[in-house]
């Protein structure tokens, strides 16, 4: 399938006139434009995911009362079956919002931002390449992503509404939801997912080929910036873990549209009626195929974040990353191990003790390389002359937040303690600590760090610091209480925020304190939403009025993306690039400057002025 697509660059390069608007911004094959397309779309989906959750948080904090402002709007948009006239959202809509919050955040926001946006924009620049190897495949990859996004959004407005069986879409639940309304939200979800999977597969092929084939002269594997290593491993995870989910999606689509029974067992009874299906399928098979993707997917979410943070920390400590090699080996180890831990999501399916032990062991083993990377980053701070700017603040915020997220995962990886914690708010808190104050902080660090390269202007430092401080505080106020709620036994995905299970007279249940935390968490979520306003304004304001950069290398960094003109033109480099050293040569003794770009030729140090030193 590749050959018809890989050869367009000559045609692109041969006409010299400026391409029109559509060619330049919409159907562009330039990796930087595609990266920015991914970035803008991903940020919008990120905000939409937050909005969905804000509405759900109202329902949890004040069950059964109308959502102010937004409720009436939703009533007009989605109709009376979904939202009452007074703005109370229905249980079905709550479920749909929950499922779509997960889907949007994982597949339409974080992966496209971390992999699509930063990967596309930065990777070719960092390896000294003129573009991706297959520019037109790259464009098609974005278009698949866009199509998937449109399908997911459209599903809110079809009869029955969007998919409502969680972002995991477990069968048979997902297949029997809205059975009489096919094609239903679940059908849209599956087809949307197939689009997103194809997008990721094409992207992954492109990334790996680019990193293997287009590294500049002299850029050997161990001189590769850690960010590129992270993208490389991420691409492999996407390439090999997504196809089983694609297979599962096809099977579920068959169940959905052609009444097959891949995931439906014999004798399935729905609402007291025996379902007219052939039966003989296995619900567990879906879980296996889903988690075979979805666990590596967790690393797809975090590895690019680690890559960004490493770049920012090296740059702002002005010293080499401590243990670069061990970090590279660790990230490769994570890549391999992430494929054989997936069933730790399934301890409660009755897998049997031996297999559970196997997965428990691999799960514990995979935490070792993660800890190695985090430790190396912490040690890198030691003795550095740290510059505190906005990217660095976000990167510094990432380290402890990811640490909390990672460590709280261990009790979930042990199958004994998982019995208590499974499907509670503890799980939610755990993975959000990894992805929200973890990856999202890393993404913000990346945006503040590479914005000057993409636009030629800096983001406002002052508002950046305000954005960081508020986000940091409210992120913790949102997710820390969830640990407490989870350990108290509060289940996730509950429409009334756990009120059904509240202590009542002699019945022991969730205490008023635990239920009351819902209110404070909800306030923190809304405040977190408001805290993004400085960022949004800063982002657009700085496009035209931000401080102009005075050099191509405003952060005085060593990696190759800062050796291009600003913003980089089509084709990126205006000179031959030959790499002569590793990626993080900061504060090399004896050099006149505290950074030595990767492609700066070695030359004998100039003899100091004045008389030669007498001995």
């Amino acid at each position: 399938m590749q050959p018809t697509l890989h050869a367009d660059t000559h045609a692109q390069a041969s006409h010299h006139e400026e391409p029109g608007f559509w060619q330049k911004y919409i159907f562009s094959t330039d990796h930087k434009v595609i990266g920015i397309q991914y970035g803008i779309t991903g940020l919008m989906f990120l905000f939409l995911g937050l909005c969905l959750m804000s509405v759900m948080r109202w329902q949890m904090a004040n069950p059964g009362t109308g959502v102010p402002l937004v409720g009436p709007l939703l009533y007009h948009l989605l109709g009376e079956s979904a939202v009452s006239k007074t703005g109370v959202i229905s249980p079905d809509l709550y479920n749909a919002f929950g499922a779509m919050h997960g889907t949007i955040m994982v597949f339409l926001a974080i992966v496209p931002l971390a992999f699509g946006a930063f990967g596309n924009f930065v990777t070719p620049l960092q390896i000294g390449a003129p573009d991706m190897t297959f520019p037109r495949v790259n464009m098609v990859s974005y278009q698949f992503y866009f199509m998937g996004g449109i399908l997911m959004l459209a599903s809110f407005f079809i009869p029955g509404g969007a998919a409502k069986s969680g972002w995991t879409s477990y069968s048979p639940l997902a297949t029997i939801a809205d059975m009489n309304l096919r094609p239903n939200g679940q059908t849209f979800w599956i087809i949307g997912m197939v689009c997103l999977i194809n997008s990721s597969l094409l992207g992954a092929v492109n990334f790996i080929t680019t990193i293997i084939q287009l590294r500049a002269k002299g850029l050997s594997w161990m001189r590769l910036p850690f960010f590129c290593w992270a993208q490389f491993v991420t691409a492999f995870l996407l390439l090999l873990a997504f196809p089983p989910l694609e297979a599962a999606a096809v099977l579920q689509l068959m169940d959905n549209l052609l009444r097959t029974s891949f995931f439906l067992p014999t004798g399935l009874v729905v609402s007291g009626k025996l379902l007219h299906i052939s039966g003989g399928g296995s619900p567990l098979l879906w879980q296996h195929l889903f988690w075979f993707l979805a666990h590596p997917e967790v690393y797809v979410l975090i590895l690019p974040g680690m890559g960004i943070v490493t770049e920012v920390i090296a740059n702002n400590t002005r010293k080499p990353i401590w243990g670069y090699r061990s970090m590279v080996y660790s990230i490769l180890a994570i890549g391999f191990l992430s494929f054989i831990v997936w069933a730790h999501h399934m301890y409660l399916t009755g897998m049997g003790v031996r297999i559970a032990t196997f997965f428990q062991t691999t799960t514990m083993v995979i935490s070792i390389p993660s800890v190695v990377i985090l430790t190396a980053l912490f040690i890198s701070l030691w003795g550095g002359s740290i510059r505190i700017n906005t990217p660095m603040l976000f990167a510094l915020g990432f380290l402890p937040m990811f640490g909390i997220g990672g460590l709280t995962g261990l009790p979930l990886g042990f199958n004994a303690s998982d019995i208590h914690l499974h499907d509670t708010y503890y799980v939610i808190a755990h993975f959000h600590y990894i992805v929200a104050p973890g990856t999202i902080f890393a993404l913000f660090a990346g945006i503040y760090y590479w914005y000057p390269k993409a636009t030629g202007r800096m983001l406002s430092e002052y508002w950046g610091k305000v954005h960081f401080a508020l986000s940091f505080v409210f992120m913790n106020l949102v997710f820390m209480p969830m640990f407490i709620q989870g350990m108290a036994g509060m289940s996730r995905r509950m429409y009334d925020g756990g009120a059904t299970y509240a202590s009542n007279g002699d019945v022991v249940g969730l205490s008023p304190y635990i239920i009351g935390l819902n209110t404070s968490v909800s306030h923190a979520v809304w405040a977190l939403g408001l805290a993004q306003i400085p960022f949004i304004i800063n982002f657009f304001w700085s496009l035209n009025w931000g401080k102009k950069v005075t050099s191509d290398n405003p952060w005085e960094a060593t990696t190759l993306e800062w050796q291009t003109p600003t913003p980089p033109p089509h084709g990126n480099f205006d000179k031959e690039i030959e790499v002569v050293r590793g990626p993080y040569e900061y504060s090399v003794p004896g050099k006149s400057r505290d950074f030595t770009p990767q492609n700066e030729p070695d030359q004998p140090e100039p003899i100091p002025h004045g008389n030669p030193v007498r001995s």
Partner: protein, 118 residues
Amino acid sequence: MSEPSSSTRTLHVDEHTIEEMRHHMRRYLIVGVALAVGTGLTVWASLINFGSYEINIVVALIIASAKGFLVAGFFMHLISEKKMIYAVLSCTAFFFTGLFFLTLWSMAHENIIQIHLR
């Protein structure tokens, strides 16, 4: 590809290439015949009673794997490929094995079977 310069954009064909390709073509024909024979063989083997059906399954899979090896090895030139491609394929083989056997192991476990029997 606006101006194909004839010096760089031509195919280099020399005696050696032609000799090599002739050799290749003979080999492809032999492999093709072997594959056809293998197809006949697998049909024939599936129709005889070995006493136990498991043997039929094993035989069929062995023949299929042999045919697969011929296609991948000779038609796709995998017997003389570059290291990078071997590396990619070994990763794939590793993950494929993980998917296959861990899933089967966890689902064929005695606990599950007992639940099904009840």
